[in-house]
């Protein structure tokens, strides 16, 4: 339906921008590590205006000054920043041949029923992806409404005023070291602009904009929803994305104006070699609604805390988070909500699953500033441990500086009980089927928030992860 069309459409956009079918005009040898020289080359390669080059250079200086976070995960110590390509590396970032693609990835494609052509693309082996001319009619449809949906590089060229107005206003380079890094070397990502009063009914998908070249390494996404508008943006997919790049550090900035609504859905399934360190933040103005729906299944380490600043009176924020950590993985996820105005409300609902020694942690902040009277918030985090090797931790912070508010926090940690398993098995289900059923039930309240095709795929992927045939 629209989903497949949109996948193809966004691929066309990526093709166009990244010149899959056109020759590179510039030739430069990219080296490992990051220097000011490389930042300049990136900007020149993209033919960026002066103001963006300036921005990158300032950010680079900040990146060099700032220390790495000392919290989060000991896996951070394993990242050698000098041993990474920050832009296009020789031979590209794709696997050299289908044979190089890890078996576990191939198996998952098989089990999820990913079509042949998509498999090669997702593993970066193939560059071609079939598209149809439906692309043109969707673009036309969006254009008619005044909606802009292009990759960020294009936006810098085509809509500089809009970009300059909002870029880095939600996540400034100074925010943290990884944000500074992204600000210096960002490439790709989506730019979405919804004009006043416009409602985009079909979810906009980033799916195939993940360019095989840099595989979404340092994406920078900016979404602006003008007054009274609404949009649902989705990124990622359940099929694993294989990349030889090990560091991914994206930044997503969202501005939701008065009475507008934005939902941002992510399904993250990066291959198990990836360190996924992301800064995602939204500002919600008066009576605006912002929802982050975040699902983390892949990567070796993910550190991601989607945030919402409730700046306008009556604004509402929701963060729904699912994290699953299998053997060797650490999902450090959660969310932050800051109430800055009266009559604001928020919900954080986080569920995590750990198995075979995997580790999940919930890290969250619920802050209510003075003056944010009559704020209401409910934070719930539930963890399910599937065996005694696995672990889960919770680091919730509540900072409430206003009396006239209603704040609730609940946390549970459970394991699959022997009695539950026996009950289900006594009805004819195998132990695997019974475990899957219990896990499904545990995640069900959050999974039902996903668009249906995602929900079905997610359930299948989770079942695969539990079987151990993946990774």
């Amino acid at each position: 339906m629209a989903t497949k069309q949109q996948k193809e459409i966004t691929q066309q956009l990526a093709d166009y921008r990244y010149g899959f079918h056109t020759e590179e005009k510039y030739e430069f040898k990219s080296e490992k590590g990051l220097t000011e020289e490389i930042v300049r080359m990136i900007s020149a390669h993209k033919k960026e205006p002066e103001w963006m080059l300036d921005f990158r250079l300032k950010a680079y200086k900040i990146y060099r000054e700032k220390p790495m976070p000392t919290w989060g995960s000991s896996y951070l110590n394993d990242i050698n920043f000098e041993d990474i390509y920050y832009y296009i590396k020789p031979g590209g970032n794709k696997a050299k041949s289908w044979d190089d693609v890890p078996d576990e990835i191939k198996n998952t494609f098989e089990k999820l029923g990913v079509p042949e052509a998509e498999r090669k693309f997702l593993s970066g082996v193939g560059a071609q992806f079939e598209s149809e001319t439906i692309y043109h009619s969707l673009q036309k449809h969006l254009e008619e409404k005044g909606v802009i949906f292009v990759d960020t590089d294009t936006a810098v060229q085509k809509y500089p005023d809009l970009v300059r107005k909002y870029f880095a206003t939600v996540v400034p380079p100074r925010d943290n070291k990884l944000a500074a890094l992204n600000s210096a070397v960002w490439s790709g990502g989506s730019f979405v602009y919804i004009p006043k009063g416009v409602h985009v009914e079909l979810p906009l998908q980033a799916y195939f904009r993940i360019n095989a070249e840099n595989a979404g390494q340092f994406e920078r996404t900016l979404i602006i929803a003008e007054e009274g508008s609404s949009v649902h943006y989705t990124e990622g997919c359940t099929a694993p994305i294989y990349t030889t790049n090990s560091l991914h550090s994206a930044v997503v900035e969202i501005v939701v104006h008065k009475d507008a609504r934005v939902q941002y859905t992510t399904v993250q399934n990066w291959s198990r070699n990836v360190y996924n360190l992301v800064t995602k933040r939204a500002i919600a103005h008066e009576n605006a609604t912002m929802m982050w729906l975040d699902c983390n299944i892949g990567s070796k380490l993910t550190m991601k805390y989607p945030s919402i600043y409730l700046r306008g009176k009556g604004a509402r924020g929701e963060i729904l988070s699912i994290a699953m950590a299998n053997k060797g993985q650490h999902q450090d996820a959660g969310g932050k909500i800051i109430h800055l105005a009266p009559d604001t409300s928020s919900v954080i609902n986080a569920k995590s699953l750990s198995l075979r020694g995997g580790r999940t942690s919930y890290r969250g902040l619920l802050q209510v500033a003075p003056g944010a009277e009559r704020s209401r918030s409910r934070v719930t985090c539930d963890a399910l441990l599937l065996d005694t090797e696995s672990s889960t931790d919770t680091y919730p912070t509540m900072q409430i500086d206003e009396n006239n508010v209603a704040i609730a926090h609940e946390a549970t940690v459970t394991k699959i009980s022997e009695e539950q398993l026996f009950y289900l098995m006594s009805r004819g289900l195998s132990e695997q089927e019974a475990s899957n059923m219990i896990v499904n039930g545990f995640l069900a309240p959050l999974i039902k928030e996903f668009p249906m095709e995602y929900a079905l795929e997610l359930n299948r992927l989770i079942a695969l992860e539990m079987e151990g045939s993946v990774g």
Binding site: Q420, Y423, L424, M425, S426, R427, L429, S430, I438, G441
Partner: protein, 256 residues
């Protein structure tokens, strides 16, 4: 015609022997009831028959239609036609009852090499059985046993019995925690299913009342891990009148 044969069954939990040599044969269409004081091992027997991992069988065998199920996993036993109505049914949050019933039914069908149920037909079947057990339509959307009253849990167990059509049904104190009306519905429902499918029933109970609706062909009295007396309905009246003491004394005299 099917047969469930329990021969000299011994079982322990945490190194303590609970079943000390139980022998019992149940044929299709027969209704057996086991009564006995608390701690006699009645519930243990139910769990051991179904294969609860906590118990270890230290002697004897269980055979269903000539196949030994003594070493089998609970799901394999279910697939061969054994069903246990739990005294304390487990909650499975987030899993809709309809979904659970369908998946379980499909697992049982698959084990027989049969195709999965067709959803519209299955829903029709469910609604039919739900009516008998006085369930409202929205019941199917509720999470398995979550927030169910005692009566609802027990009625739901019998609904499962109706849907899974087992060869042998073990009803573990199905009457406990039920009020007069709920008991009638559950008991009549179970009896009707048993008569309809000719499944063999092993009913564990404390009280006579349920036996007004589920008329047993055989009554057994269990004490300290053994069956000490077998008889017919008149045994029940004796127990109601004078308790278990008499039978326990008799049996120890015999073995002394």
């Amino acid at each position: 015609m099917s047969q469930l044969v329990i021969k000299d069954l011994h079982a322990t939990v945490a190194d303590k022997e609970i079943l000390k040599g139980i022998s019992l044969t149940i044929n299709s269409g027969e209704i057996h009831t086991i009564m006995g004081p608390n701690g006699s091992g009645k519930s243990t027997l139910c769990h051991v028959l179904m294969g609860h991992p906590k118990y270890t069988i230290t002697g004897g065998t269980i055979e269903l239609d000539g196949v030994s199920i003594t070493e089998m996993e609970p799901n394999q036993r279910a697939q061969l036609g054994l069903f246990l109505s739990f005294q304390y049914p487990q909650e499975i949050p987030g899993v809709k009852y309809a979904s659970f019933l369908r998946q379980a039914k499909n697992a049982l069908l698959a084990a027989k090499g049969l195709p999965p149920v067709k959803i519209p037909e299955f829903v029709k079947l469910l609604k039919e059985k739900m009516k008998i057990l006085k369930f409202h339509e929205d019941f199917l959307e509720r999470s398995v046993n979550e927030g169910f009253s005692g009566g609802e849990k027990k009625r739901a167990e019998i609904l499962q019995m109706a849907v899974f059509e087992p060869k042998f049904s073990i009803l573990d104190e199905t009457d406990s925690g039920l009020d007069v009306d709920a008991l009638k519905i559950v008991a009549k429902g179970a009896m009707a299913i048993a008569k309809d499918t000719q499944c063999g029933v092993l009913l564990i109970t404390h009280y006579q009342r349920i036996l007004n609706y589920i008329k047993p062909d055989f009554v057994h009295i269990m004490s300290a891990g053994k069956i000490i007396k077998t008889g017919k309905m008149d045994l029940v009246e004796e127990v109601e009148a004078s308790g278990y003491e008499k039978f326990i004394t008799e049996s120890t005299e015999v073995t002394a």
